[in-house]
């Protein structure tokens, strides 16, 4: 362990992240200018190109966080925990995007800022799980304990999701939503479907790039903590 701090590394631009932003931008150029607006919903429908891919990424992020935590419990590799942490932080951002874009679309289309349909409600609970996970992490100073508790919470959260879905679904069958809030099956002409897939791909790419960047930060922070505390 050196006692004098090393010279700060030259910051290379994060090419992956820049590329990801470029792809997302391309997806939006396509979505806004090269894809026709929806017949019934007009331009408001284009929010869906943010809303749906964000939701996919949010669930992906949580699943990976929970899985990484589970593997950590067996392998105790700190890289797994850093990944779990990064995926959760990135995931909560995408999840917030879902919850913000939902009402932005919902108001013109449904006439309501919020509807308790099964998918949106599930995404809301996912958001709460993310927030709880991150708050728990923030409340524990010891790295090992933090990884352990987070992994346990991740596991429990993953087990919870099917129950939330089940109960909200049952609730909605017993208390049906007003007809205007029908979010079932959006029929899509091929050109819109292609844009959709492009948006999904772009967002997943962005997820990977953001997690990688965040992970690098976590690695640096842990190394810094180690050199500050590890001197004998």
């Amino acid at each position: 362990m050196t006692s004098a701090p090393a010279a700060p590394p030259v910051r290379r631009p994060d090419w992956l992240l820049l590329a990801a932003f470029a792809v997302v931008a391309a997806a939006y150029v396509r979505a806004i200018w090269f894809t026709p607006p929806d017949l019934l919903q007009g331009y408001a429908q284009k929010i869906l190109y943010v809303h749906a891919p964000s939701a996919w990424v949010a669930f992906l992020a949580f699943g990976l966080t929970a899985a990484a935590g589970a593997f950590w419990l067996f392998l105790k590799d700190p890289r797994l925990d850093r990944f779990a942490e990064s995926s959760a932080e990135v995931g909560v951002v995408f999840n917030t995007a879902v919850l913000v874009s939902g009402p932005l679309w919902g108001k013109p289309i449904w006439g309501a800022w919020w509807v308790w349909d099964a998918r949106l409600t599930l995404t809301l609970f996912l958001w709460f799980l993310f927030l709880g996970y991150l708050v728990l992490r923030g409340a524990i100073a010891d790295r090992d304990a933090r990884a352990r508790y987070a992994a346990v919470l991740g596991l429990l959260g993953a087990a919870l999701i099917p129950f939330i879905h089940l109960s909200v679904y049952l609730f909605n069958t017993q208390h049906p939503l007003p007809v205007v809030a029908n979010t079932q099956g959006i029929q899509m002409p091929p050109v819109m479907a292609k844009t959709f897939f492009f948006a999904f791909f772009a967002f997943t790419f962005l997820y990977v790039a953001l997690v990688r960047s965040r992970y690098a930060l976590a690695t640096e922070r842990d190394a810094l903590d180690d050199s500050a505390n590890g001197d004998d």
């Binding site: 010891d142 790295r143 090992d144 180690d226 505390n229 590890g230 004998d232």
Partner: protein, 232 residues
Amino acid sequence: MTPLLEAESLGRTFGARRAVDELTFSLDPGECLALFGPNGAGKTTALRLLAGLIKPTTGTARIGATRLPDLAARSRVGLISHRSLLYDALTARENVHFSARLHGLTDATAATTRALEALRVGDRADVPVRALSRGLQQRVAIARAIVHQPDVILADEPYTGLDESGSAALTGLLQERRAAGAALIVVTHHLQEGLALATHAAILRSGRFARYERAAGLDLLRYAAEYRELVA
């Protein structure tokens, strides 16, 4: 004959910090190790490993033929910690009785009375622990730890807070257990107190034994001087 307590390359790391590093030693029935060392040397961690509270990261610890922290090994250990490990809302008797029941004693009530009387705290047995003085609480804590007649007693600064009567009771108890074939480890900062009971003496520094030898024939003043030099 297998030793009663055996540690082989026992080690424990917390993150980047090695608290206990490759400890190897053994104790036969009737032997008592006085463990000295500066603050942060790893004495408490070593005791916690031997009590089965935490798992080692390297090496093994055994009681008889059973590895720690297995249940069968844990049952033979009595830990006197520097916290009281008591429930202050319950009486002394209830605390000790609970410990006796947890260890599966069939004569829990009689054993409780015996333990409390051995520590000369029988007359205050039915008072809630929170109403007892620090010294009396320490006596109850010790009674709780030894009610099940453990084969191995791990004592972390057990004389703390005890008055003359309490100290005499504790010394008497430890000597009696030693004579009955138990192995003891006593962590203390009082060289004289520790050496009085000990068959072996060790100095722990940065998680390793700086010295380990038989206690017979050790000159107290010289040992004290050498100890000061070692930990300076």
